[in-house]
């Protein structure tokens, strides 16, 4: 499980954990709480190229659907296979078992341009 302090955060509430050139992407604890009971996740297929900020996944709660955006540009190398059978892991473990997809060919500078955990926490106090 990545430490939130080692992750970067987008204003759209995705986290990114960059390791060995691969960016793991999920949604923040704040986001899973706002979404509430996740009952379905539509994740992108491997090979999908995404621009930064492009909607690439959909999370459905009982009540509503939420777009999930690529926090940085890249190519999807893998989607979390566990989400199909057990979407509730997004709520239970948003920073670990509930990751969404991995991106390769990412620009480390783009990742660095996202918010740190401390900045994200500050952002949550001022925005919704």
């Amino acid at each position: 499980m990545p430490d939130p302090k080692d992750c970067r955060f987008a204003k759209t509430h995705e986290w990114v954990f960059l390791k060995d050139g691969v960016a793991v992407v999920g949604v923040s604890d704040h986001a899973q709480h706002e979404i509430s009971d996740v009952v379905f996740v539509d994740v992108p297929k491997a090979g999908r190229k995404a621009a930064q900020g492009e909607a690439v996944a959909v999370v459905e709660s009982v009540k509503a659907a939420f777009d999930i955006y690529a926090p940085v540009a890249g190519e999807v190398s893998e989607a979390n296979p566990a989400l199909a059978a057990d979407p509730a892991i997004v709520n239970q473990s948003p920073m670990d078992k509930g990751w969404f997809f991995k991106l390769k060919d990412v620009d480390a500078a783009q990742v660095a341009g996202l918010m740190s955990f401390a900045e994200y926490e500050e952002f949550l106090k001022t925005a919704h």
Binding site: S36, D37, V39, F40, V62, K63
Partner: protein, 367 residues
């Protein structure tokens, strides 16, 4: 940006806010959509108990010498069958057979009738009743602003209701009584909107908070009760095949089209809309509310388009994720002849066509 009226709040708003509820707009009312989790609240009602604030709903008293005549004229179901203390689900129809509202009518005596109406249709209903009261010796009194209302639902409801009204424990299904709670005149009925056993309590605004708090205290300590919001109310009622006015039925759709033929008692001498229903019964309905279930993962929503053999076949009226079936479900009006259960369909969700199959209604029935 449009300027809108401030939201209306029920007498229970403050204590719900303090208990962590999330709120949503429902026809101008700021109502709790969930307290803890829609899935947990849904499960609590199916297996234990849940408590809903439904104070936005309206209540109308119809009293006087001709009260029964007015109720009979404006309702497709037969109020003459009710003895004092009995209630019925009914449709008020317009001249075209369209549904003005779906209501619960309780008889408290030959000249005292109590009608619970939907929040969004309350003014329309009261005006409709007043219009048809012309020439009759009857008083129509809308008491909605004075009354709060809560629904205690689930298999454990009967263990909990006695804490506010011991006499209510003995009520039969679709029966009601008048009682004084904390010194105020209240109505209790064994009715609900979840497909489970349960009670609805209508009490003046001054005491509805006490009713809520007493039921919560009794229910949470021993009977697995959770306070519930509109989110689970919708999943519960849709699973149980119960109609939502404005989504599934309206002034343009008839009782027979909605698949609620049992409500329309065509043997009654007369009621508004009867001729249209008789005609549809003879000739067949042009469309019928039909249930579908997704065959693959996904969550259908109201407004999603339905396709049959690649052609657009309708639009979902109500649709959601069913916690009991663990699948997407929905209802739409299928043109006649409506498909038999097992018919292959597709539902367009976020631009993708997801396979579905027609299923009998209701989706869920307590065994």
């Amino acid at each position: 940006m449009t300027v809108t009226a401030p939201p209306r709040r029920t007498p229970l708003y403050q204590i719900q806010k303090e208990s962590g509820a999330r709120f949503v707009d429902f026809h101008g009312w700021e109502l709790p959509v969930q307290f803890s989790s829609i899935l947990k609240e849904h499960q609590a009602v199916r297996t234990a108990a849940g408590l809903f604030d439904v104070s936005h709903m309206g209540q109308v008293w119809v009293t006087g010498k001709d009260a029964l005549a007015l109720v009979q004229k404006t309702n497709a179901n037969d109020a003459a069958r009710l003895k004092p203390g009995q209630a019925m689900y009914s449709h008020m129809l317009n001249e075209k057979g369209g549904i003005v509202d779906d209501v619960i009518v309780t008889c408290f005596g030959p000249e005292r009738w109590f009608i619970v109406v939907n929040a969004a249709t309350r003014e329309k209903d009261a005006a409709w009743l007043a219009k048809h009261a012309a020439g009759l010796s009857v008083e129509v009194k809308d008491v909605s602003d004075l009354m709060g209302m809560v629904a205690l639902q689930g298999p454990n409801a009967k263990e909990i209701i006695g804490s506010v009204c011991p006499e209510a424990v003995a009520l039969a299904k679709f029966a009601g009584l008048e009682a004084r709670l904390w010194g105020e005149d209240c109505v209790l009925t064994r009715t609900g909107y979840t497909g489970e056993d349960g009670f609805e309590v209508i009490a003046p605004n001054a005491v509805i908070t006490r009713v809520w708090q007493t039921l919560v205290a009794r229910g949470t300590s021993s009977f697995g009760l959770l306070p519930c919001g509109l989110g689970s109310r919708d999943t519960l009622r849709l699973e149980a095949g119960l109609l939502l006015y404005g989504n599934d039925i309206d002034d343009e759709h008839t009782t027979l089209e909605a698949g609620y033929g049992w409500v329309a008692k065509l043997a009654k001498p007369a009621f508004i809309g009867k001729a249209v229903l008789e005609g549809q019964k003879k000739a067949g309905v042009p469309r019928r509310l039909t249930g579908l279930k997704l065959s693959e993962r996904g969550v259908p929503r109201p407004g999603c388009r339905v396709f049959a053999a690649g052609k657009e076949a309708g639009t979902l009226c109500s649709a959601t994720y069913s916690p009991t079936l663990e699948a997407g479900i929905g209802v739409y009006y299928a043109a006649s002849p409506a498909p038999q259960p097992g018919f292959a369909l597709e539902v367009e969700i976020h631009g993708k066509r997801v396979p579905a199959v027609t299923v009998p209604l209701p989706f869920y029935k307590r065994s």
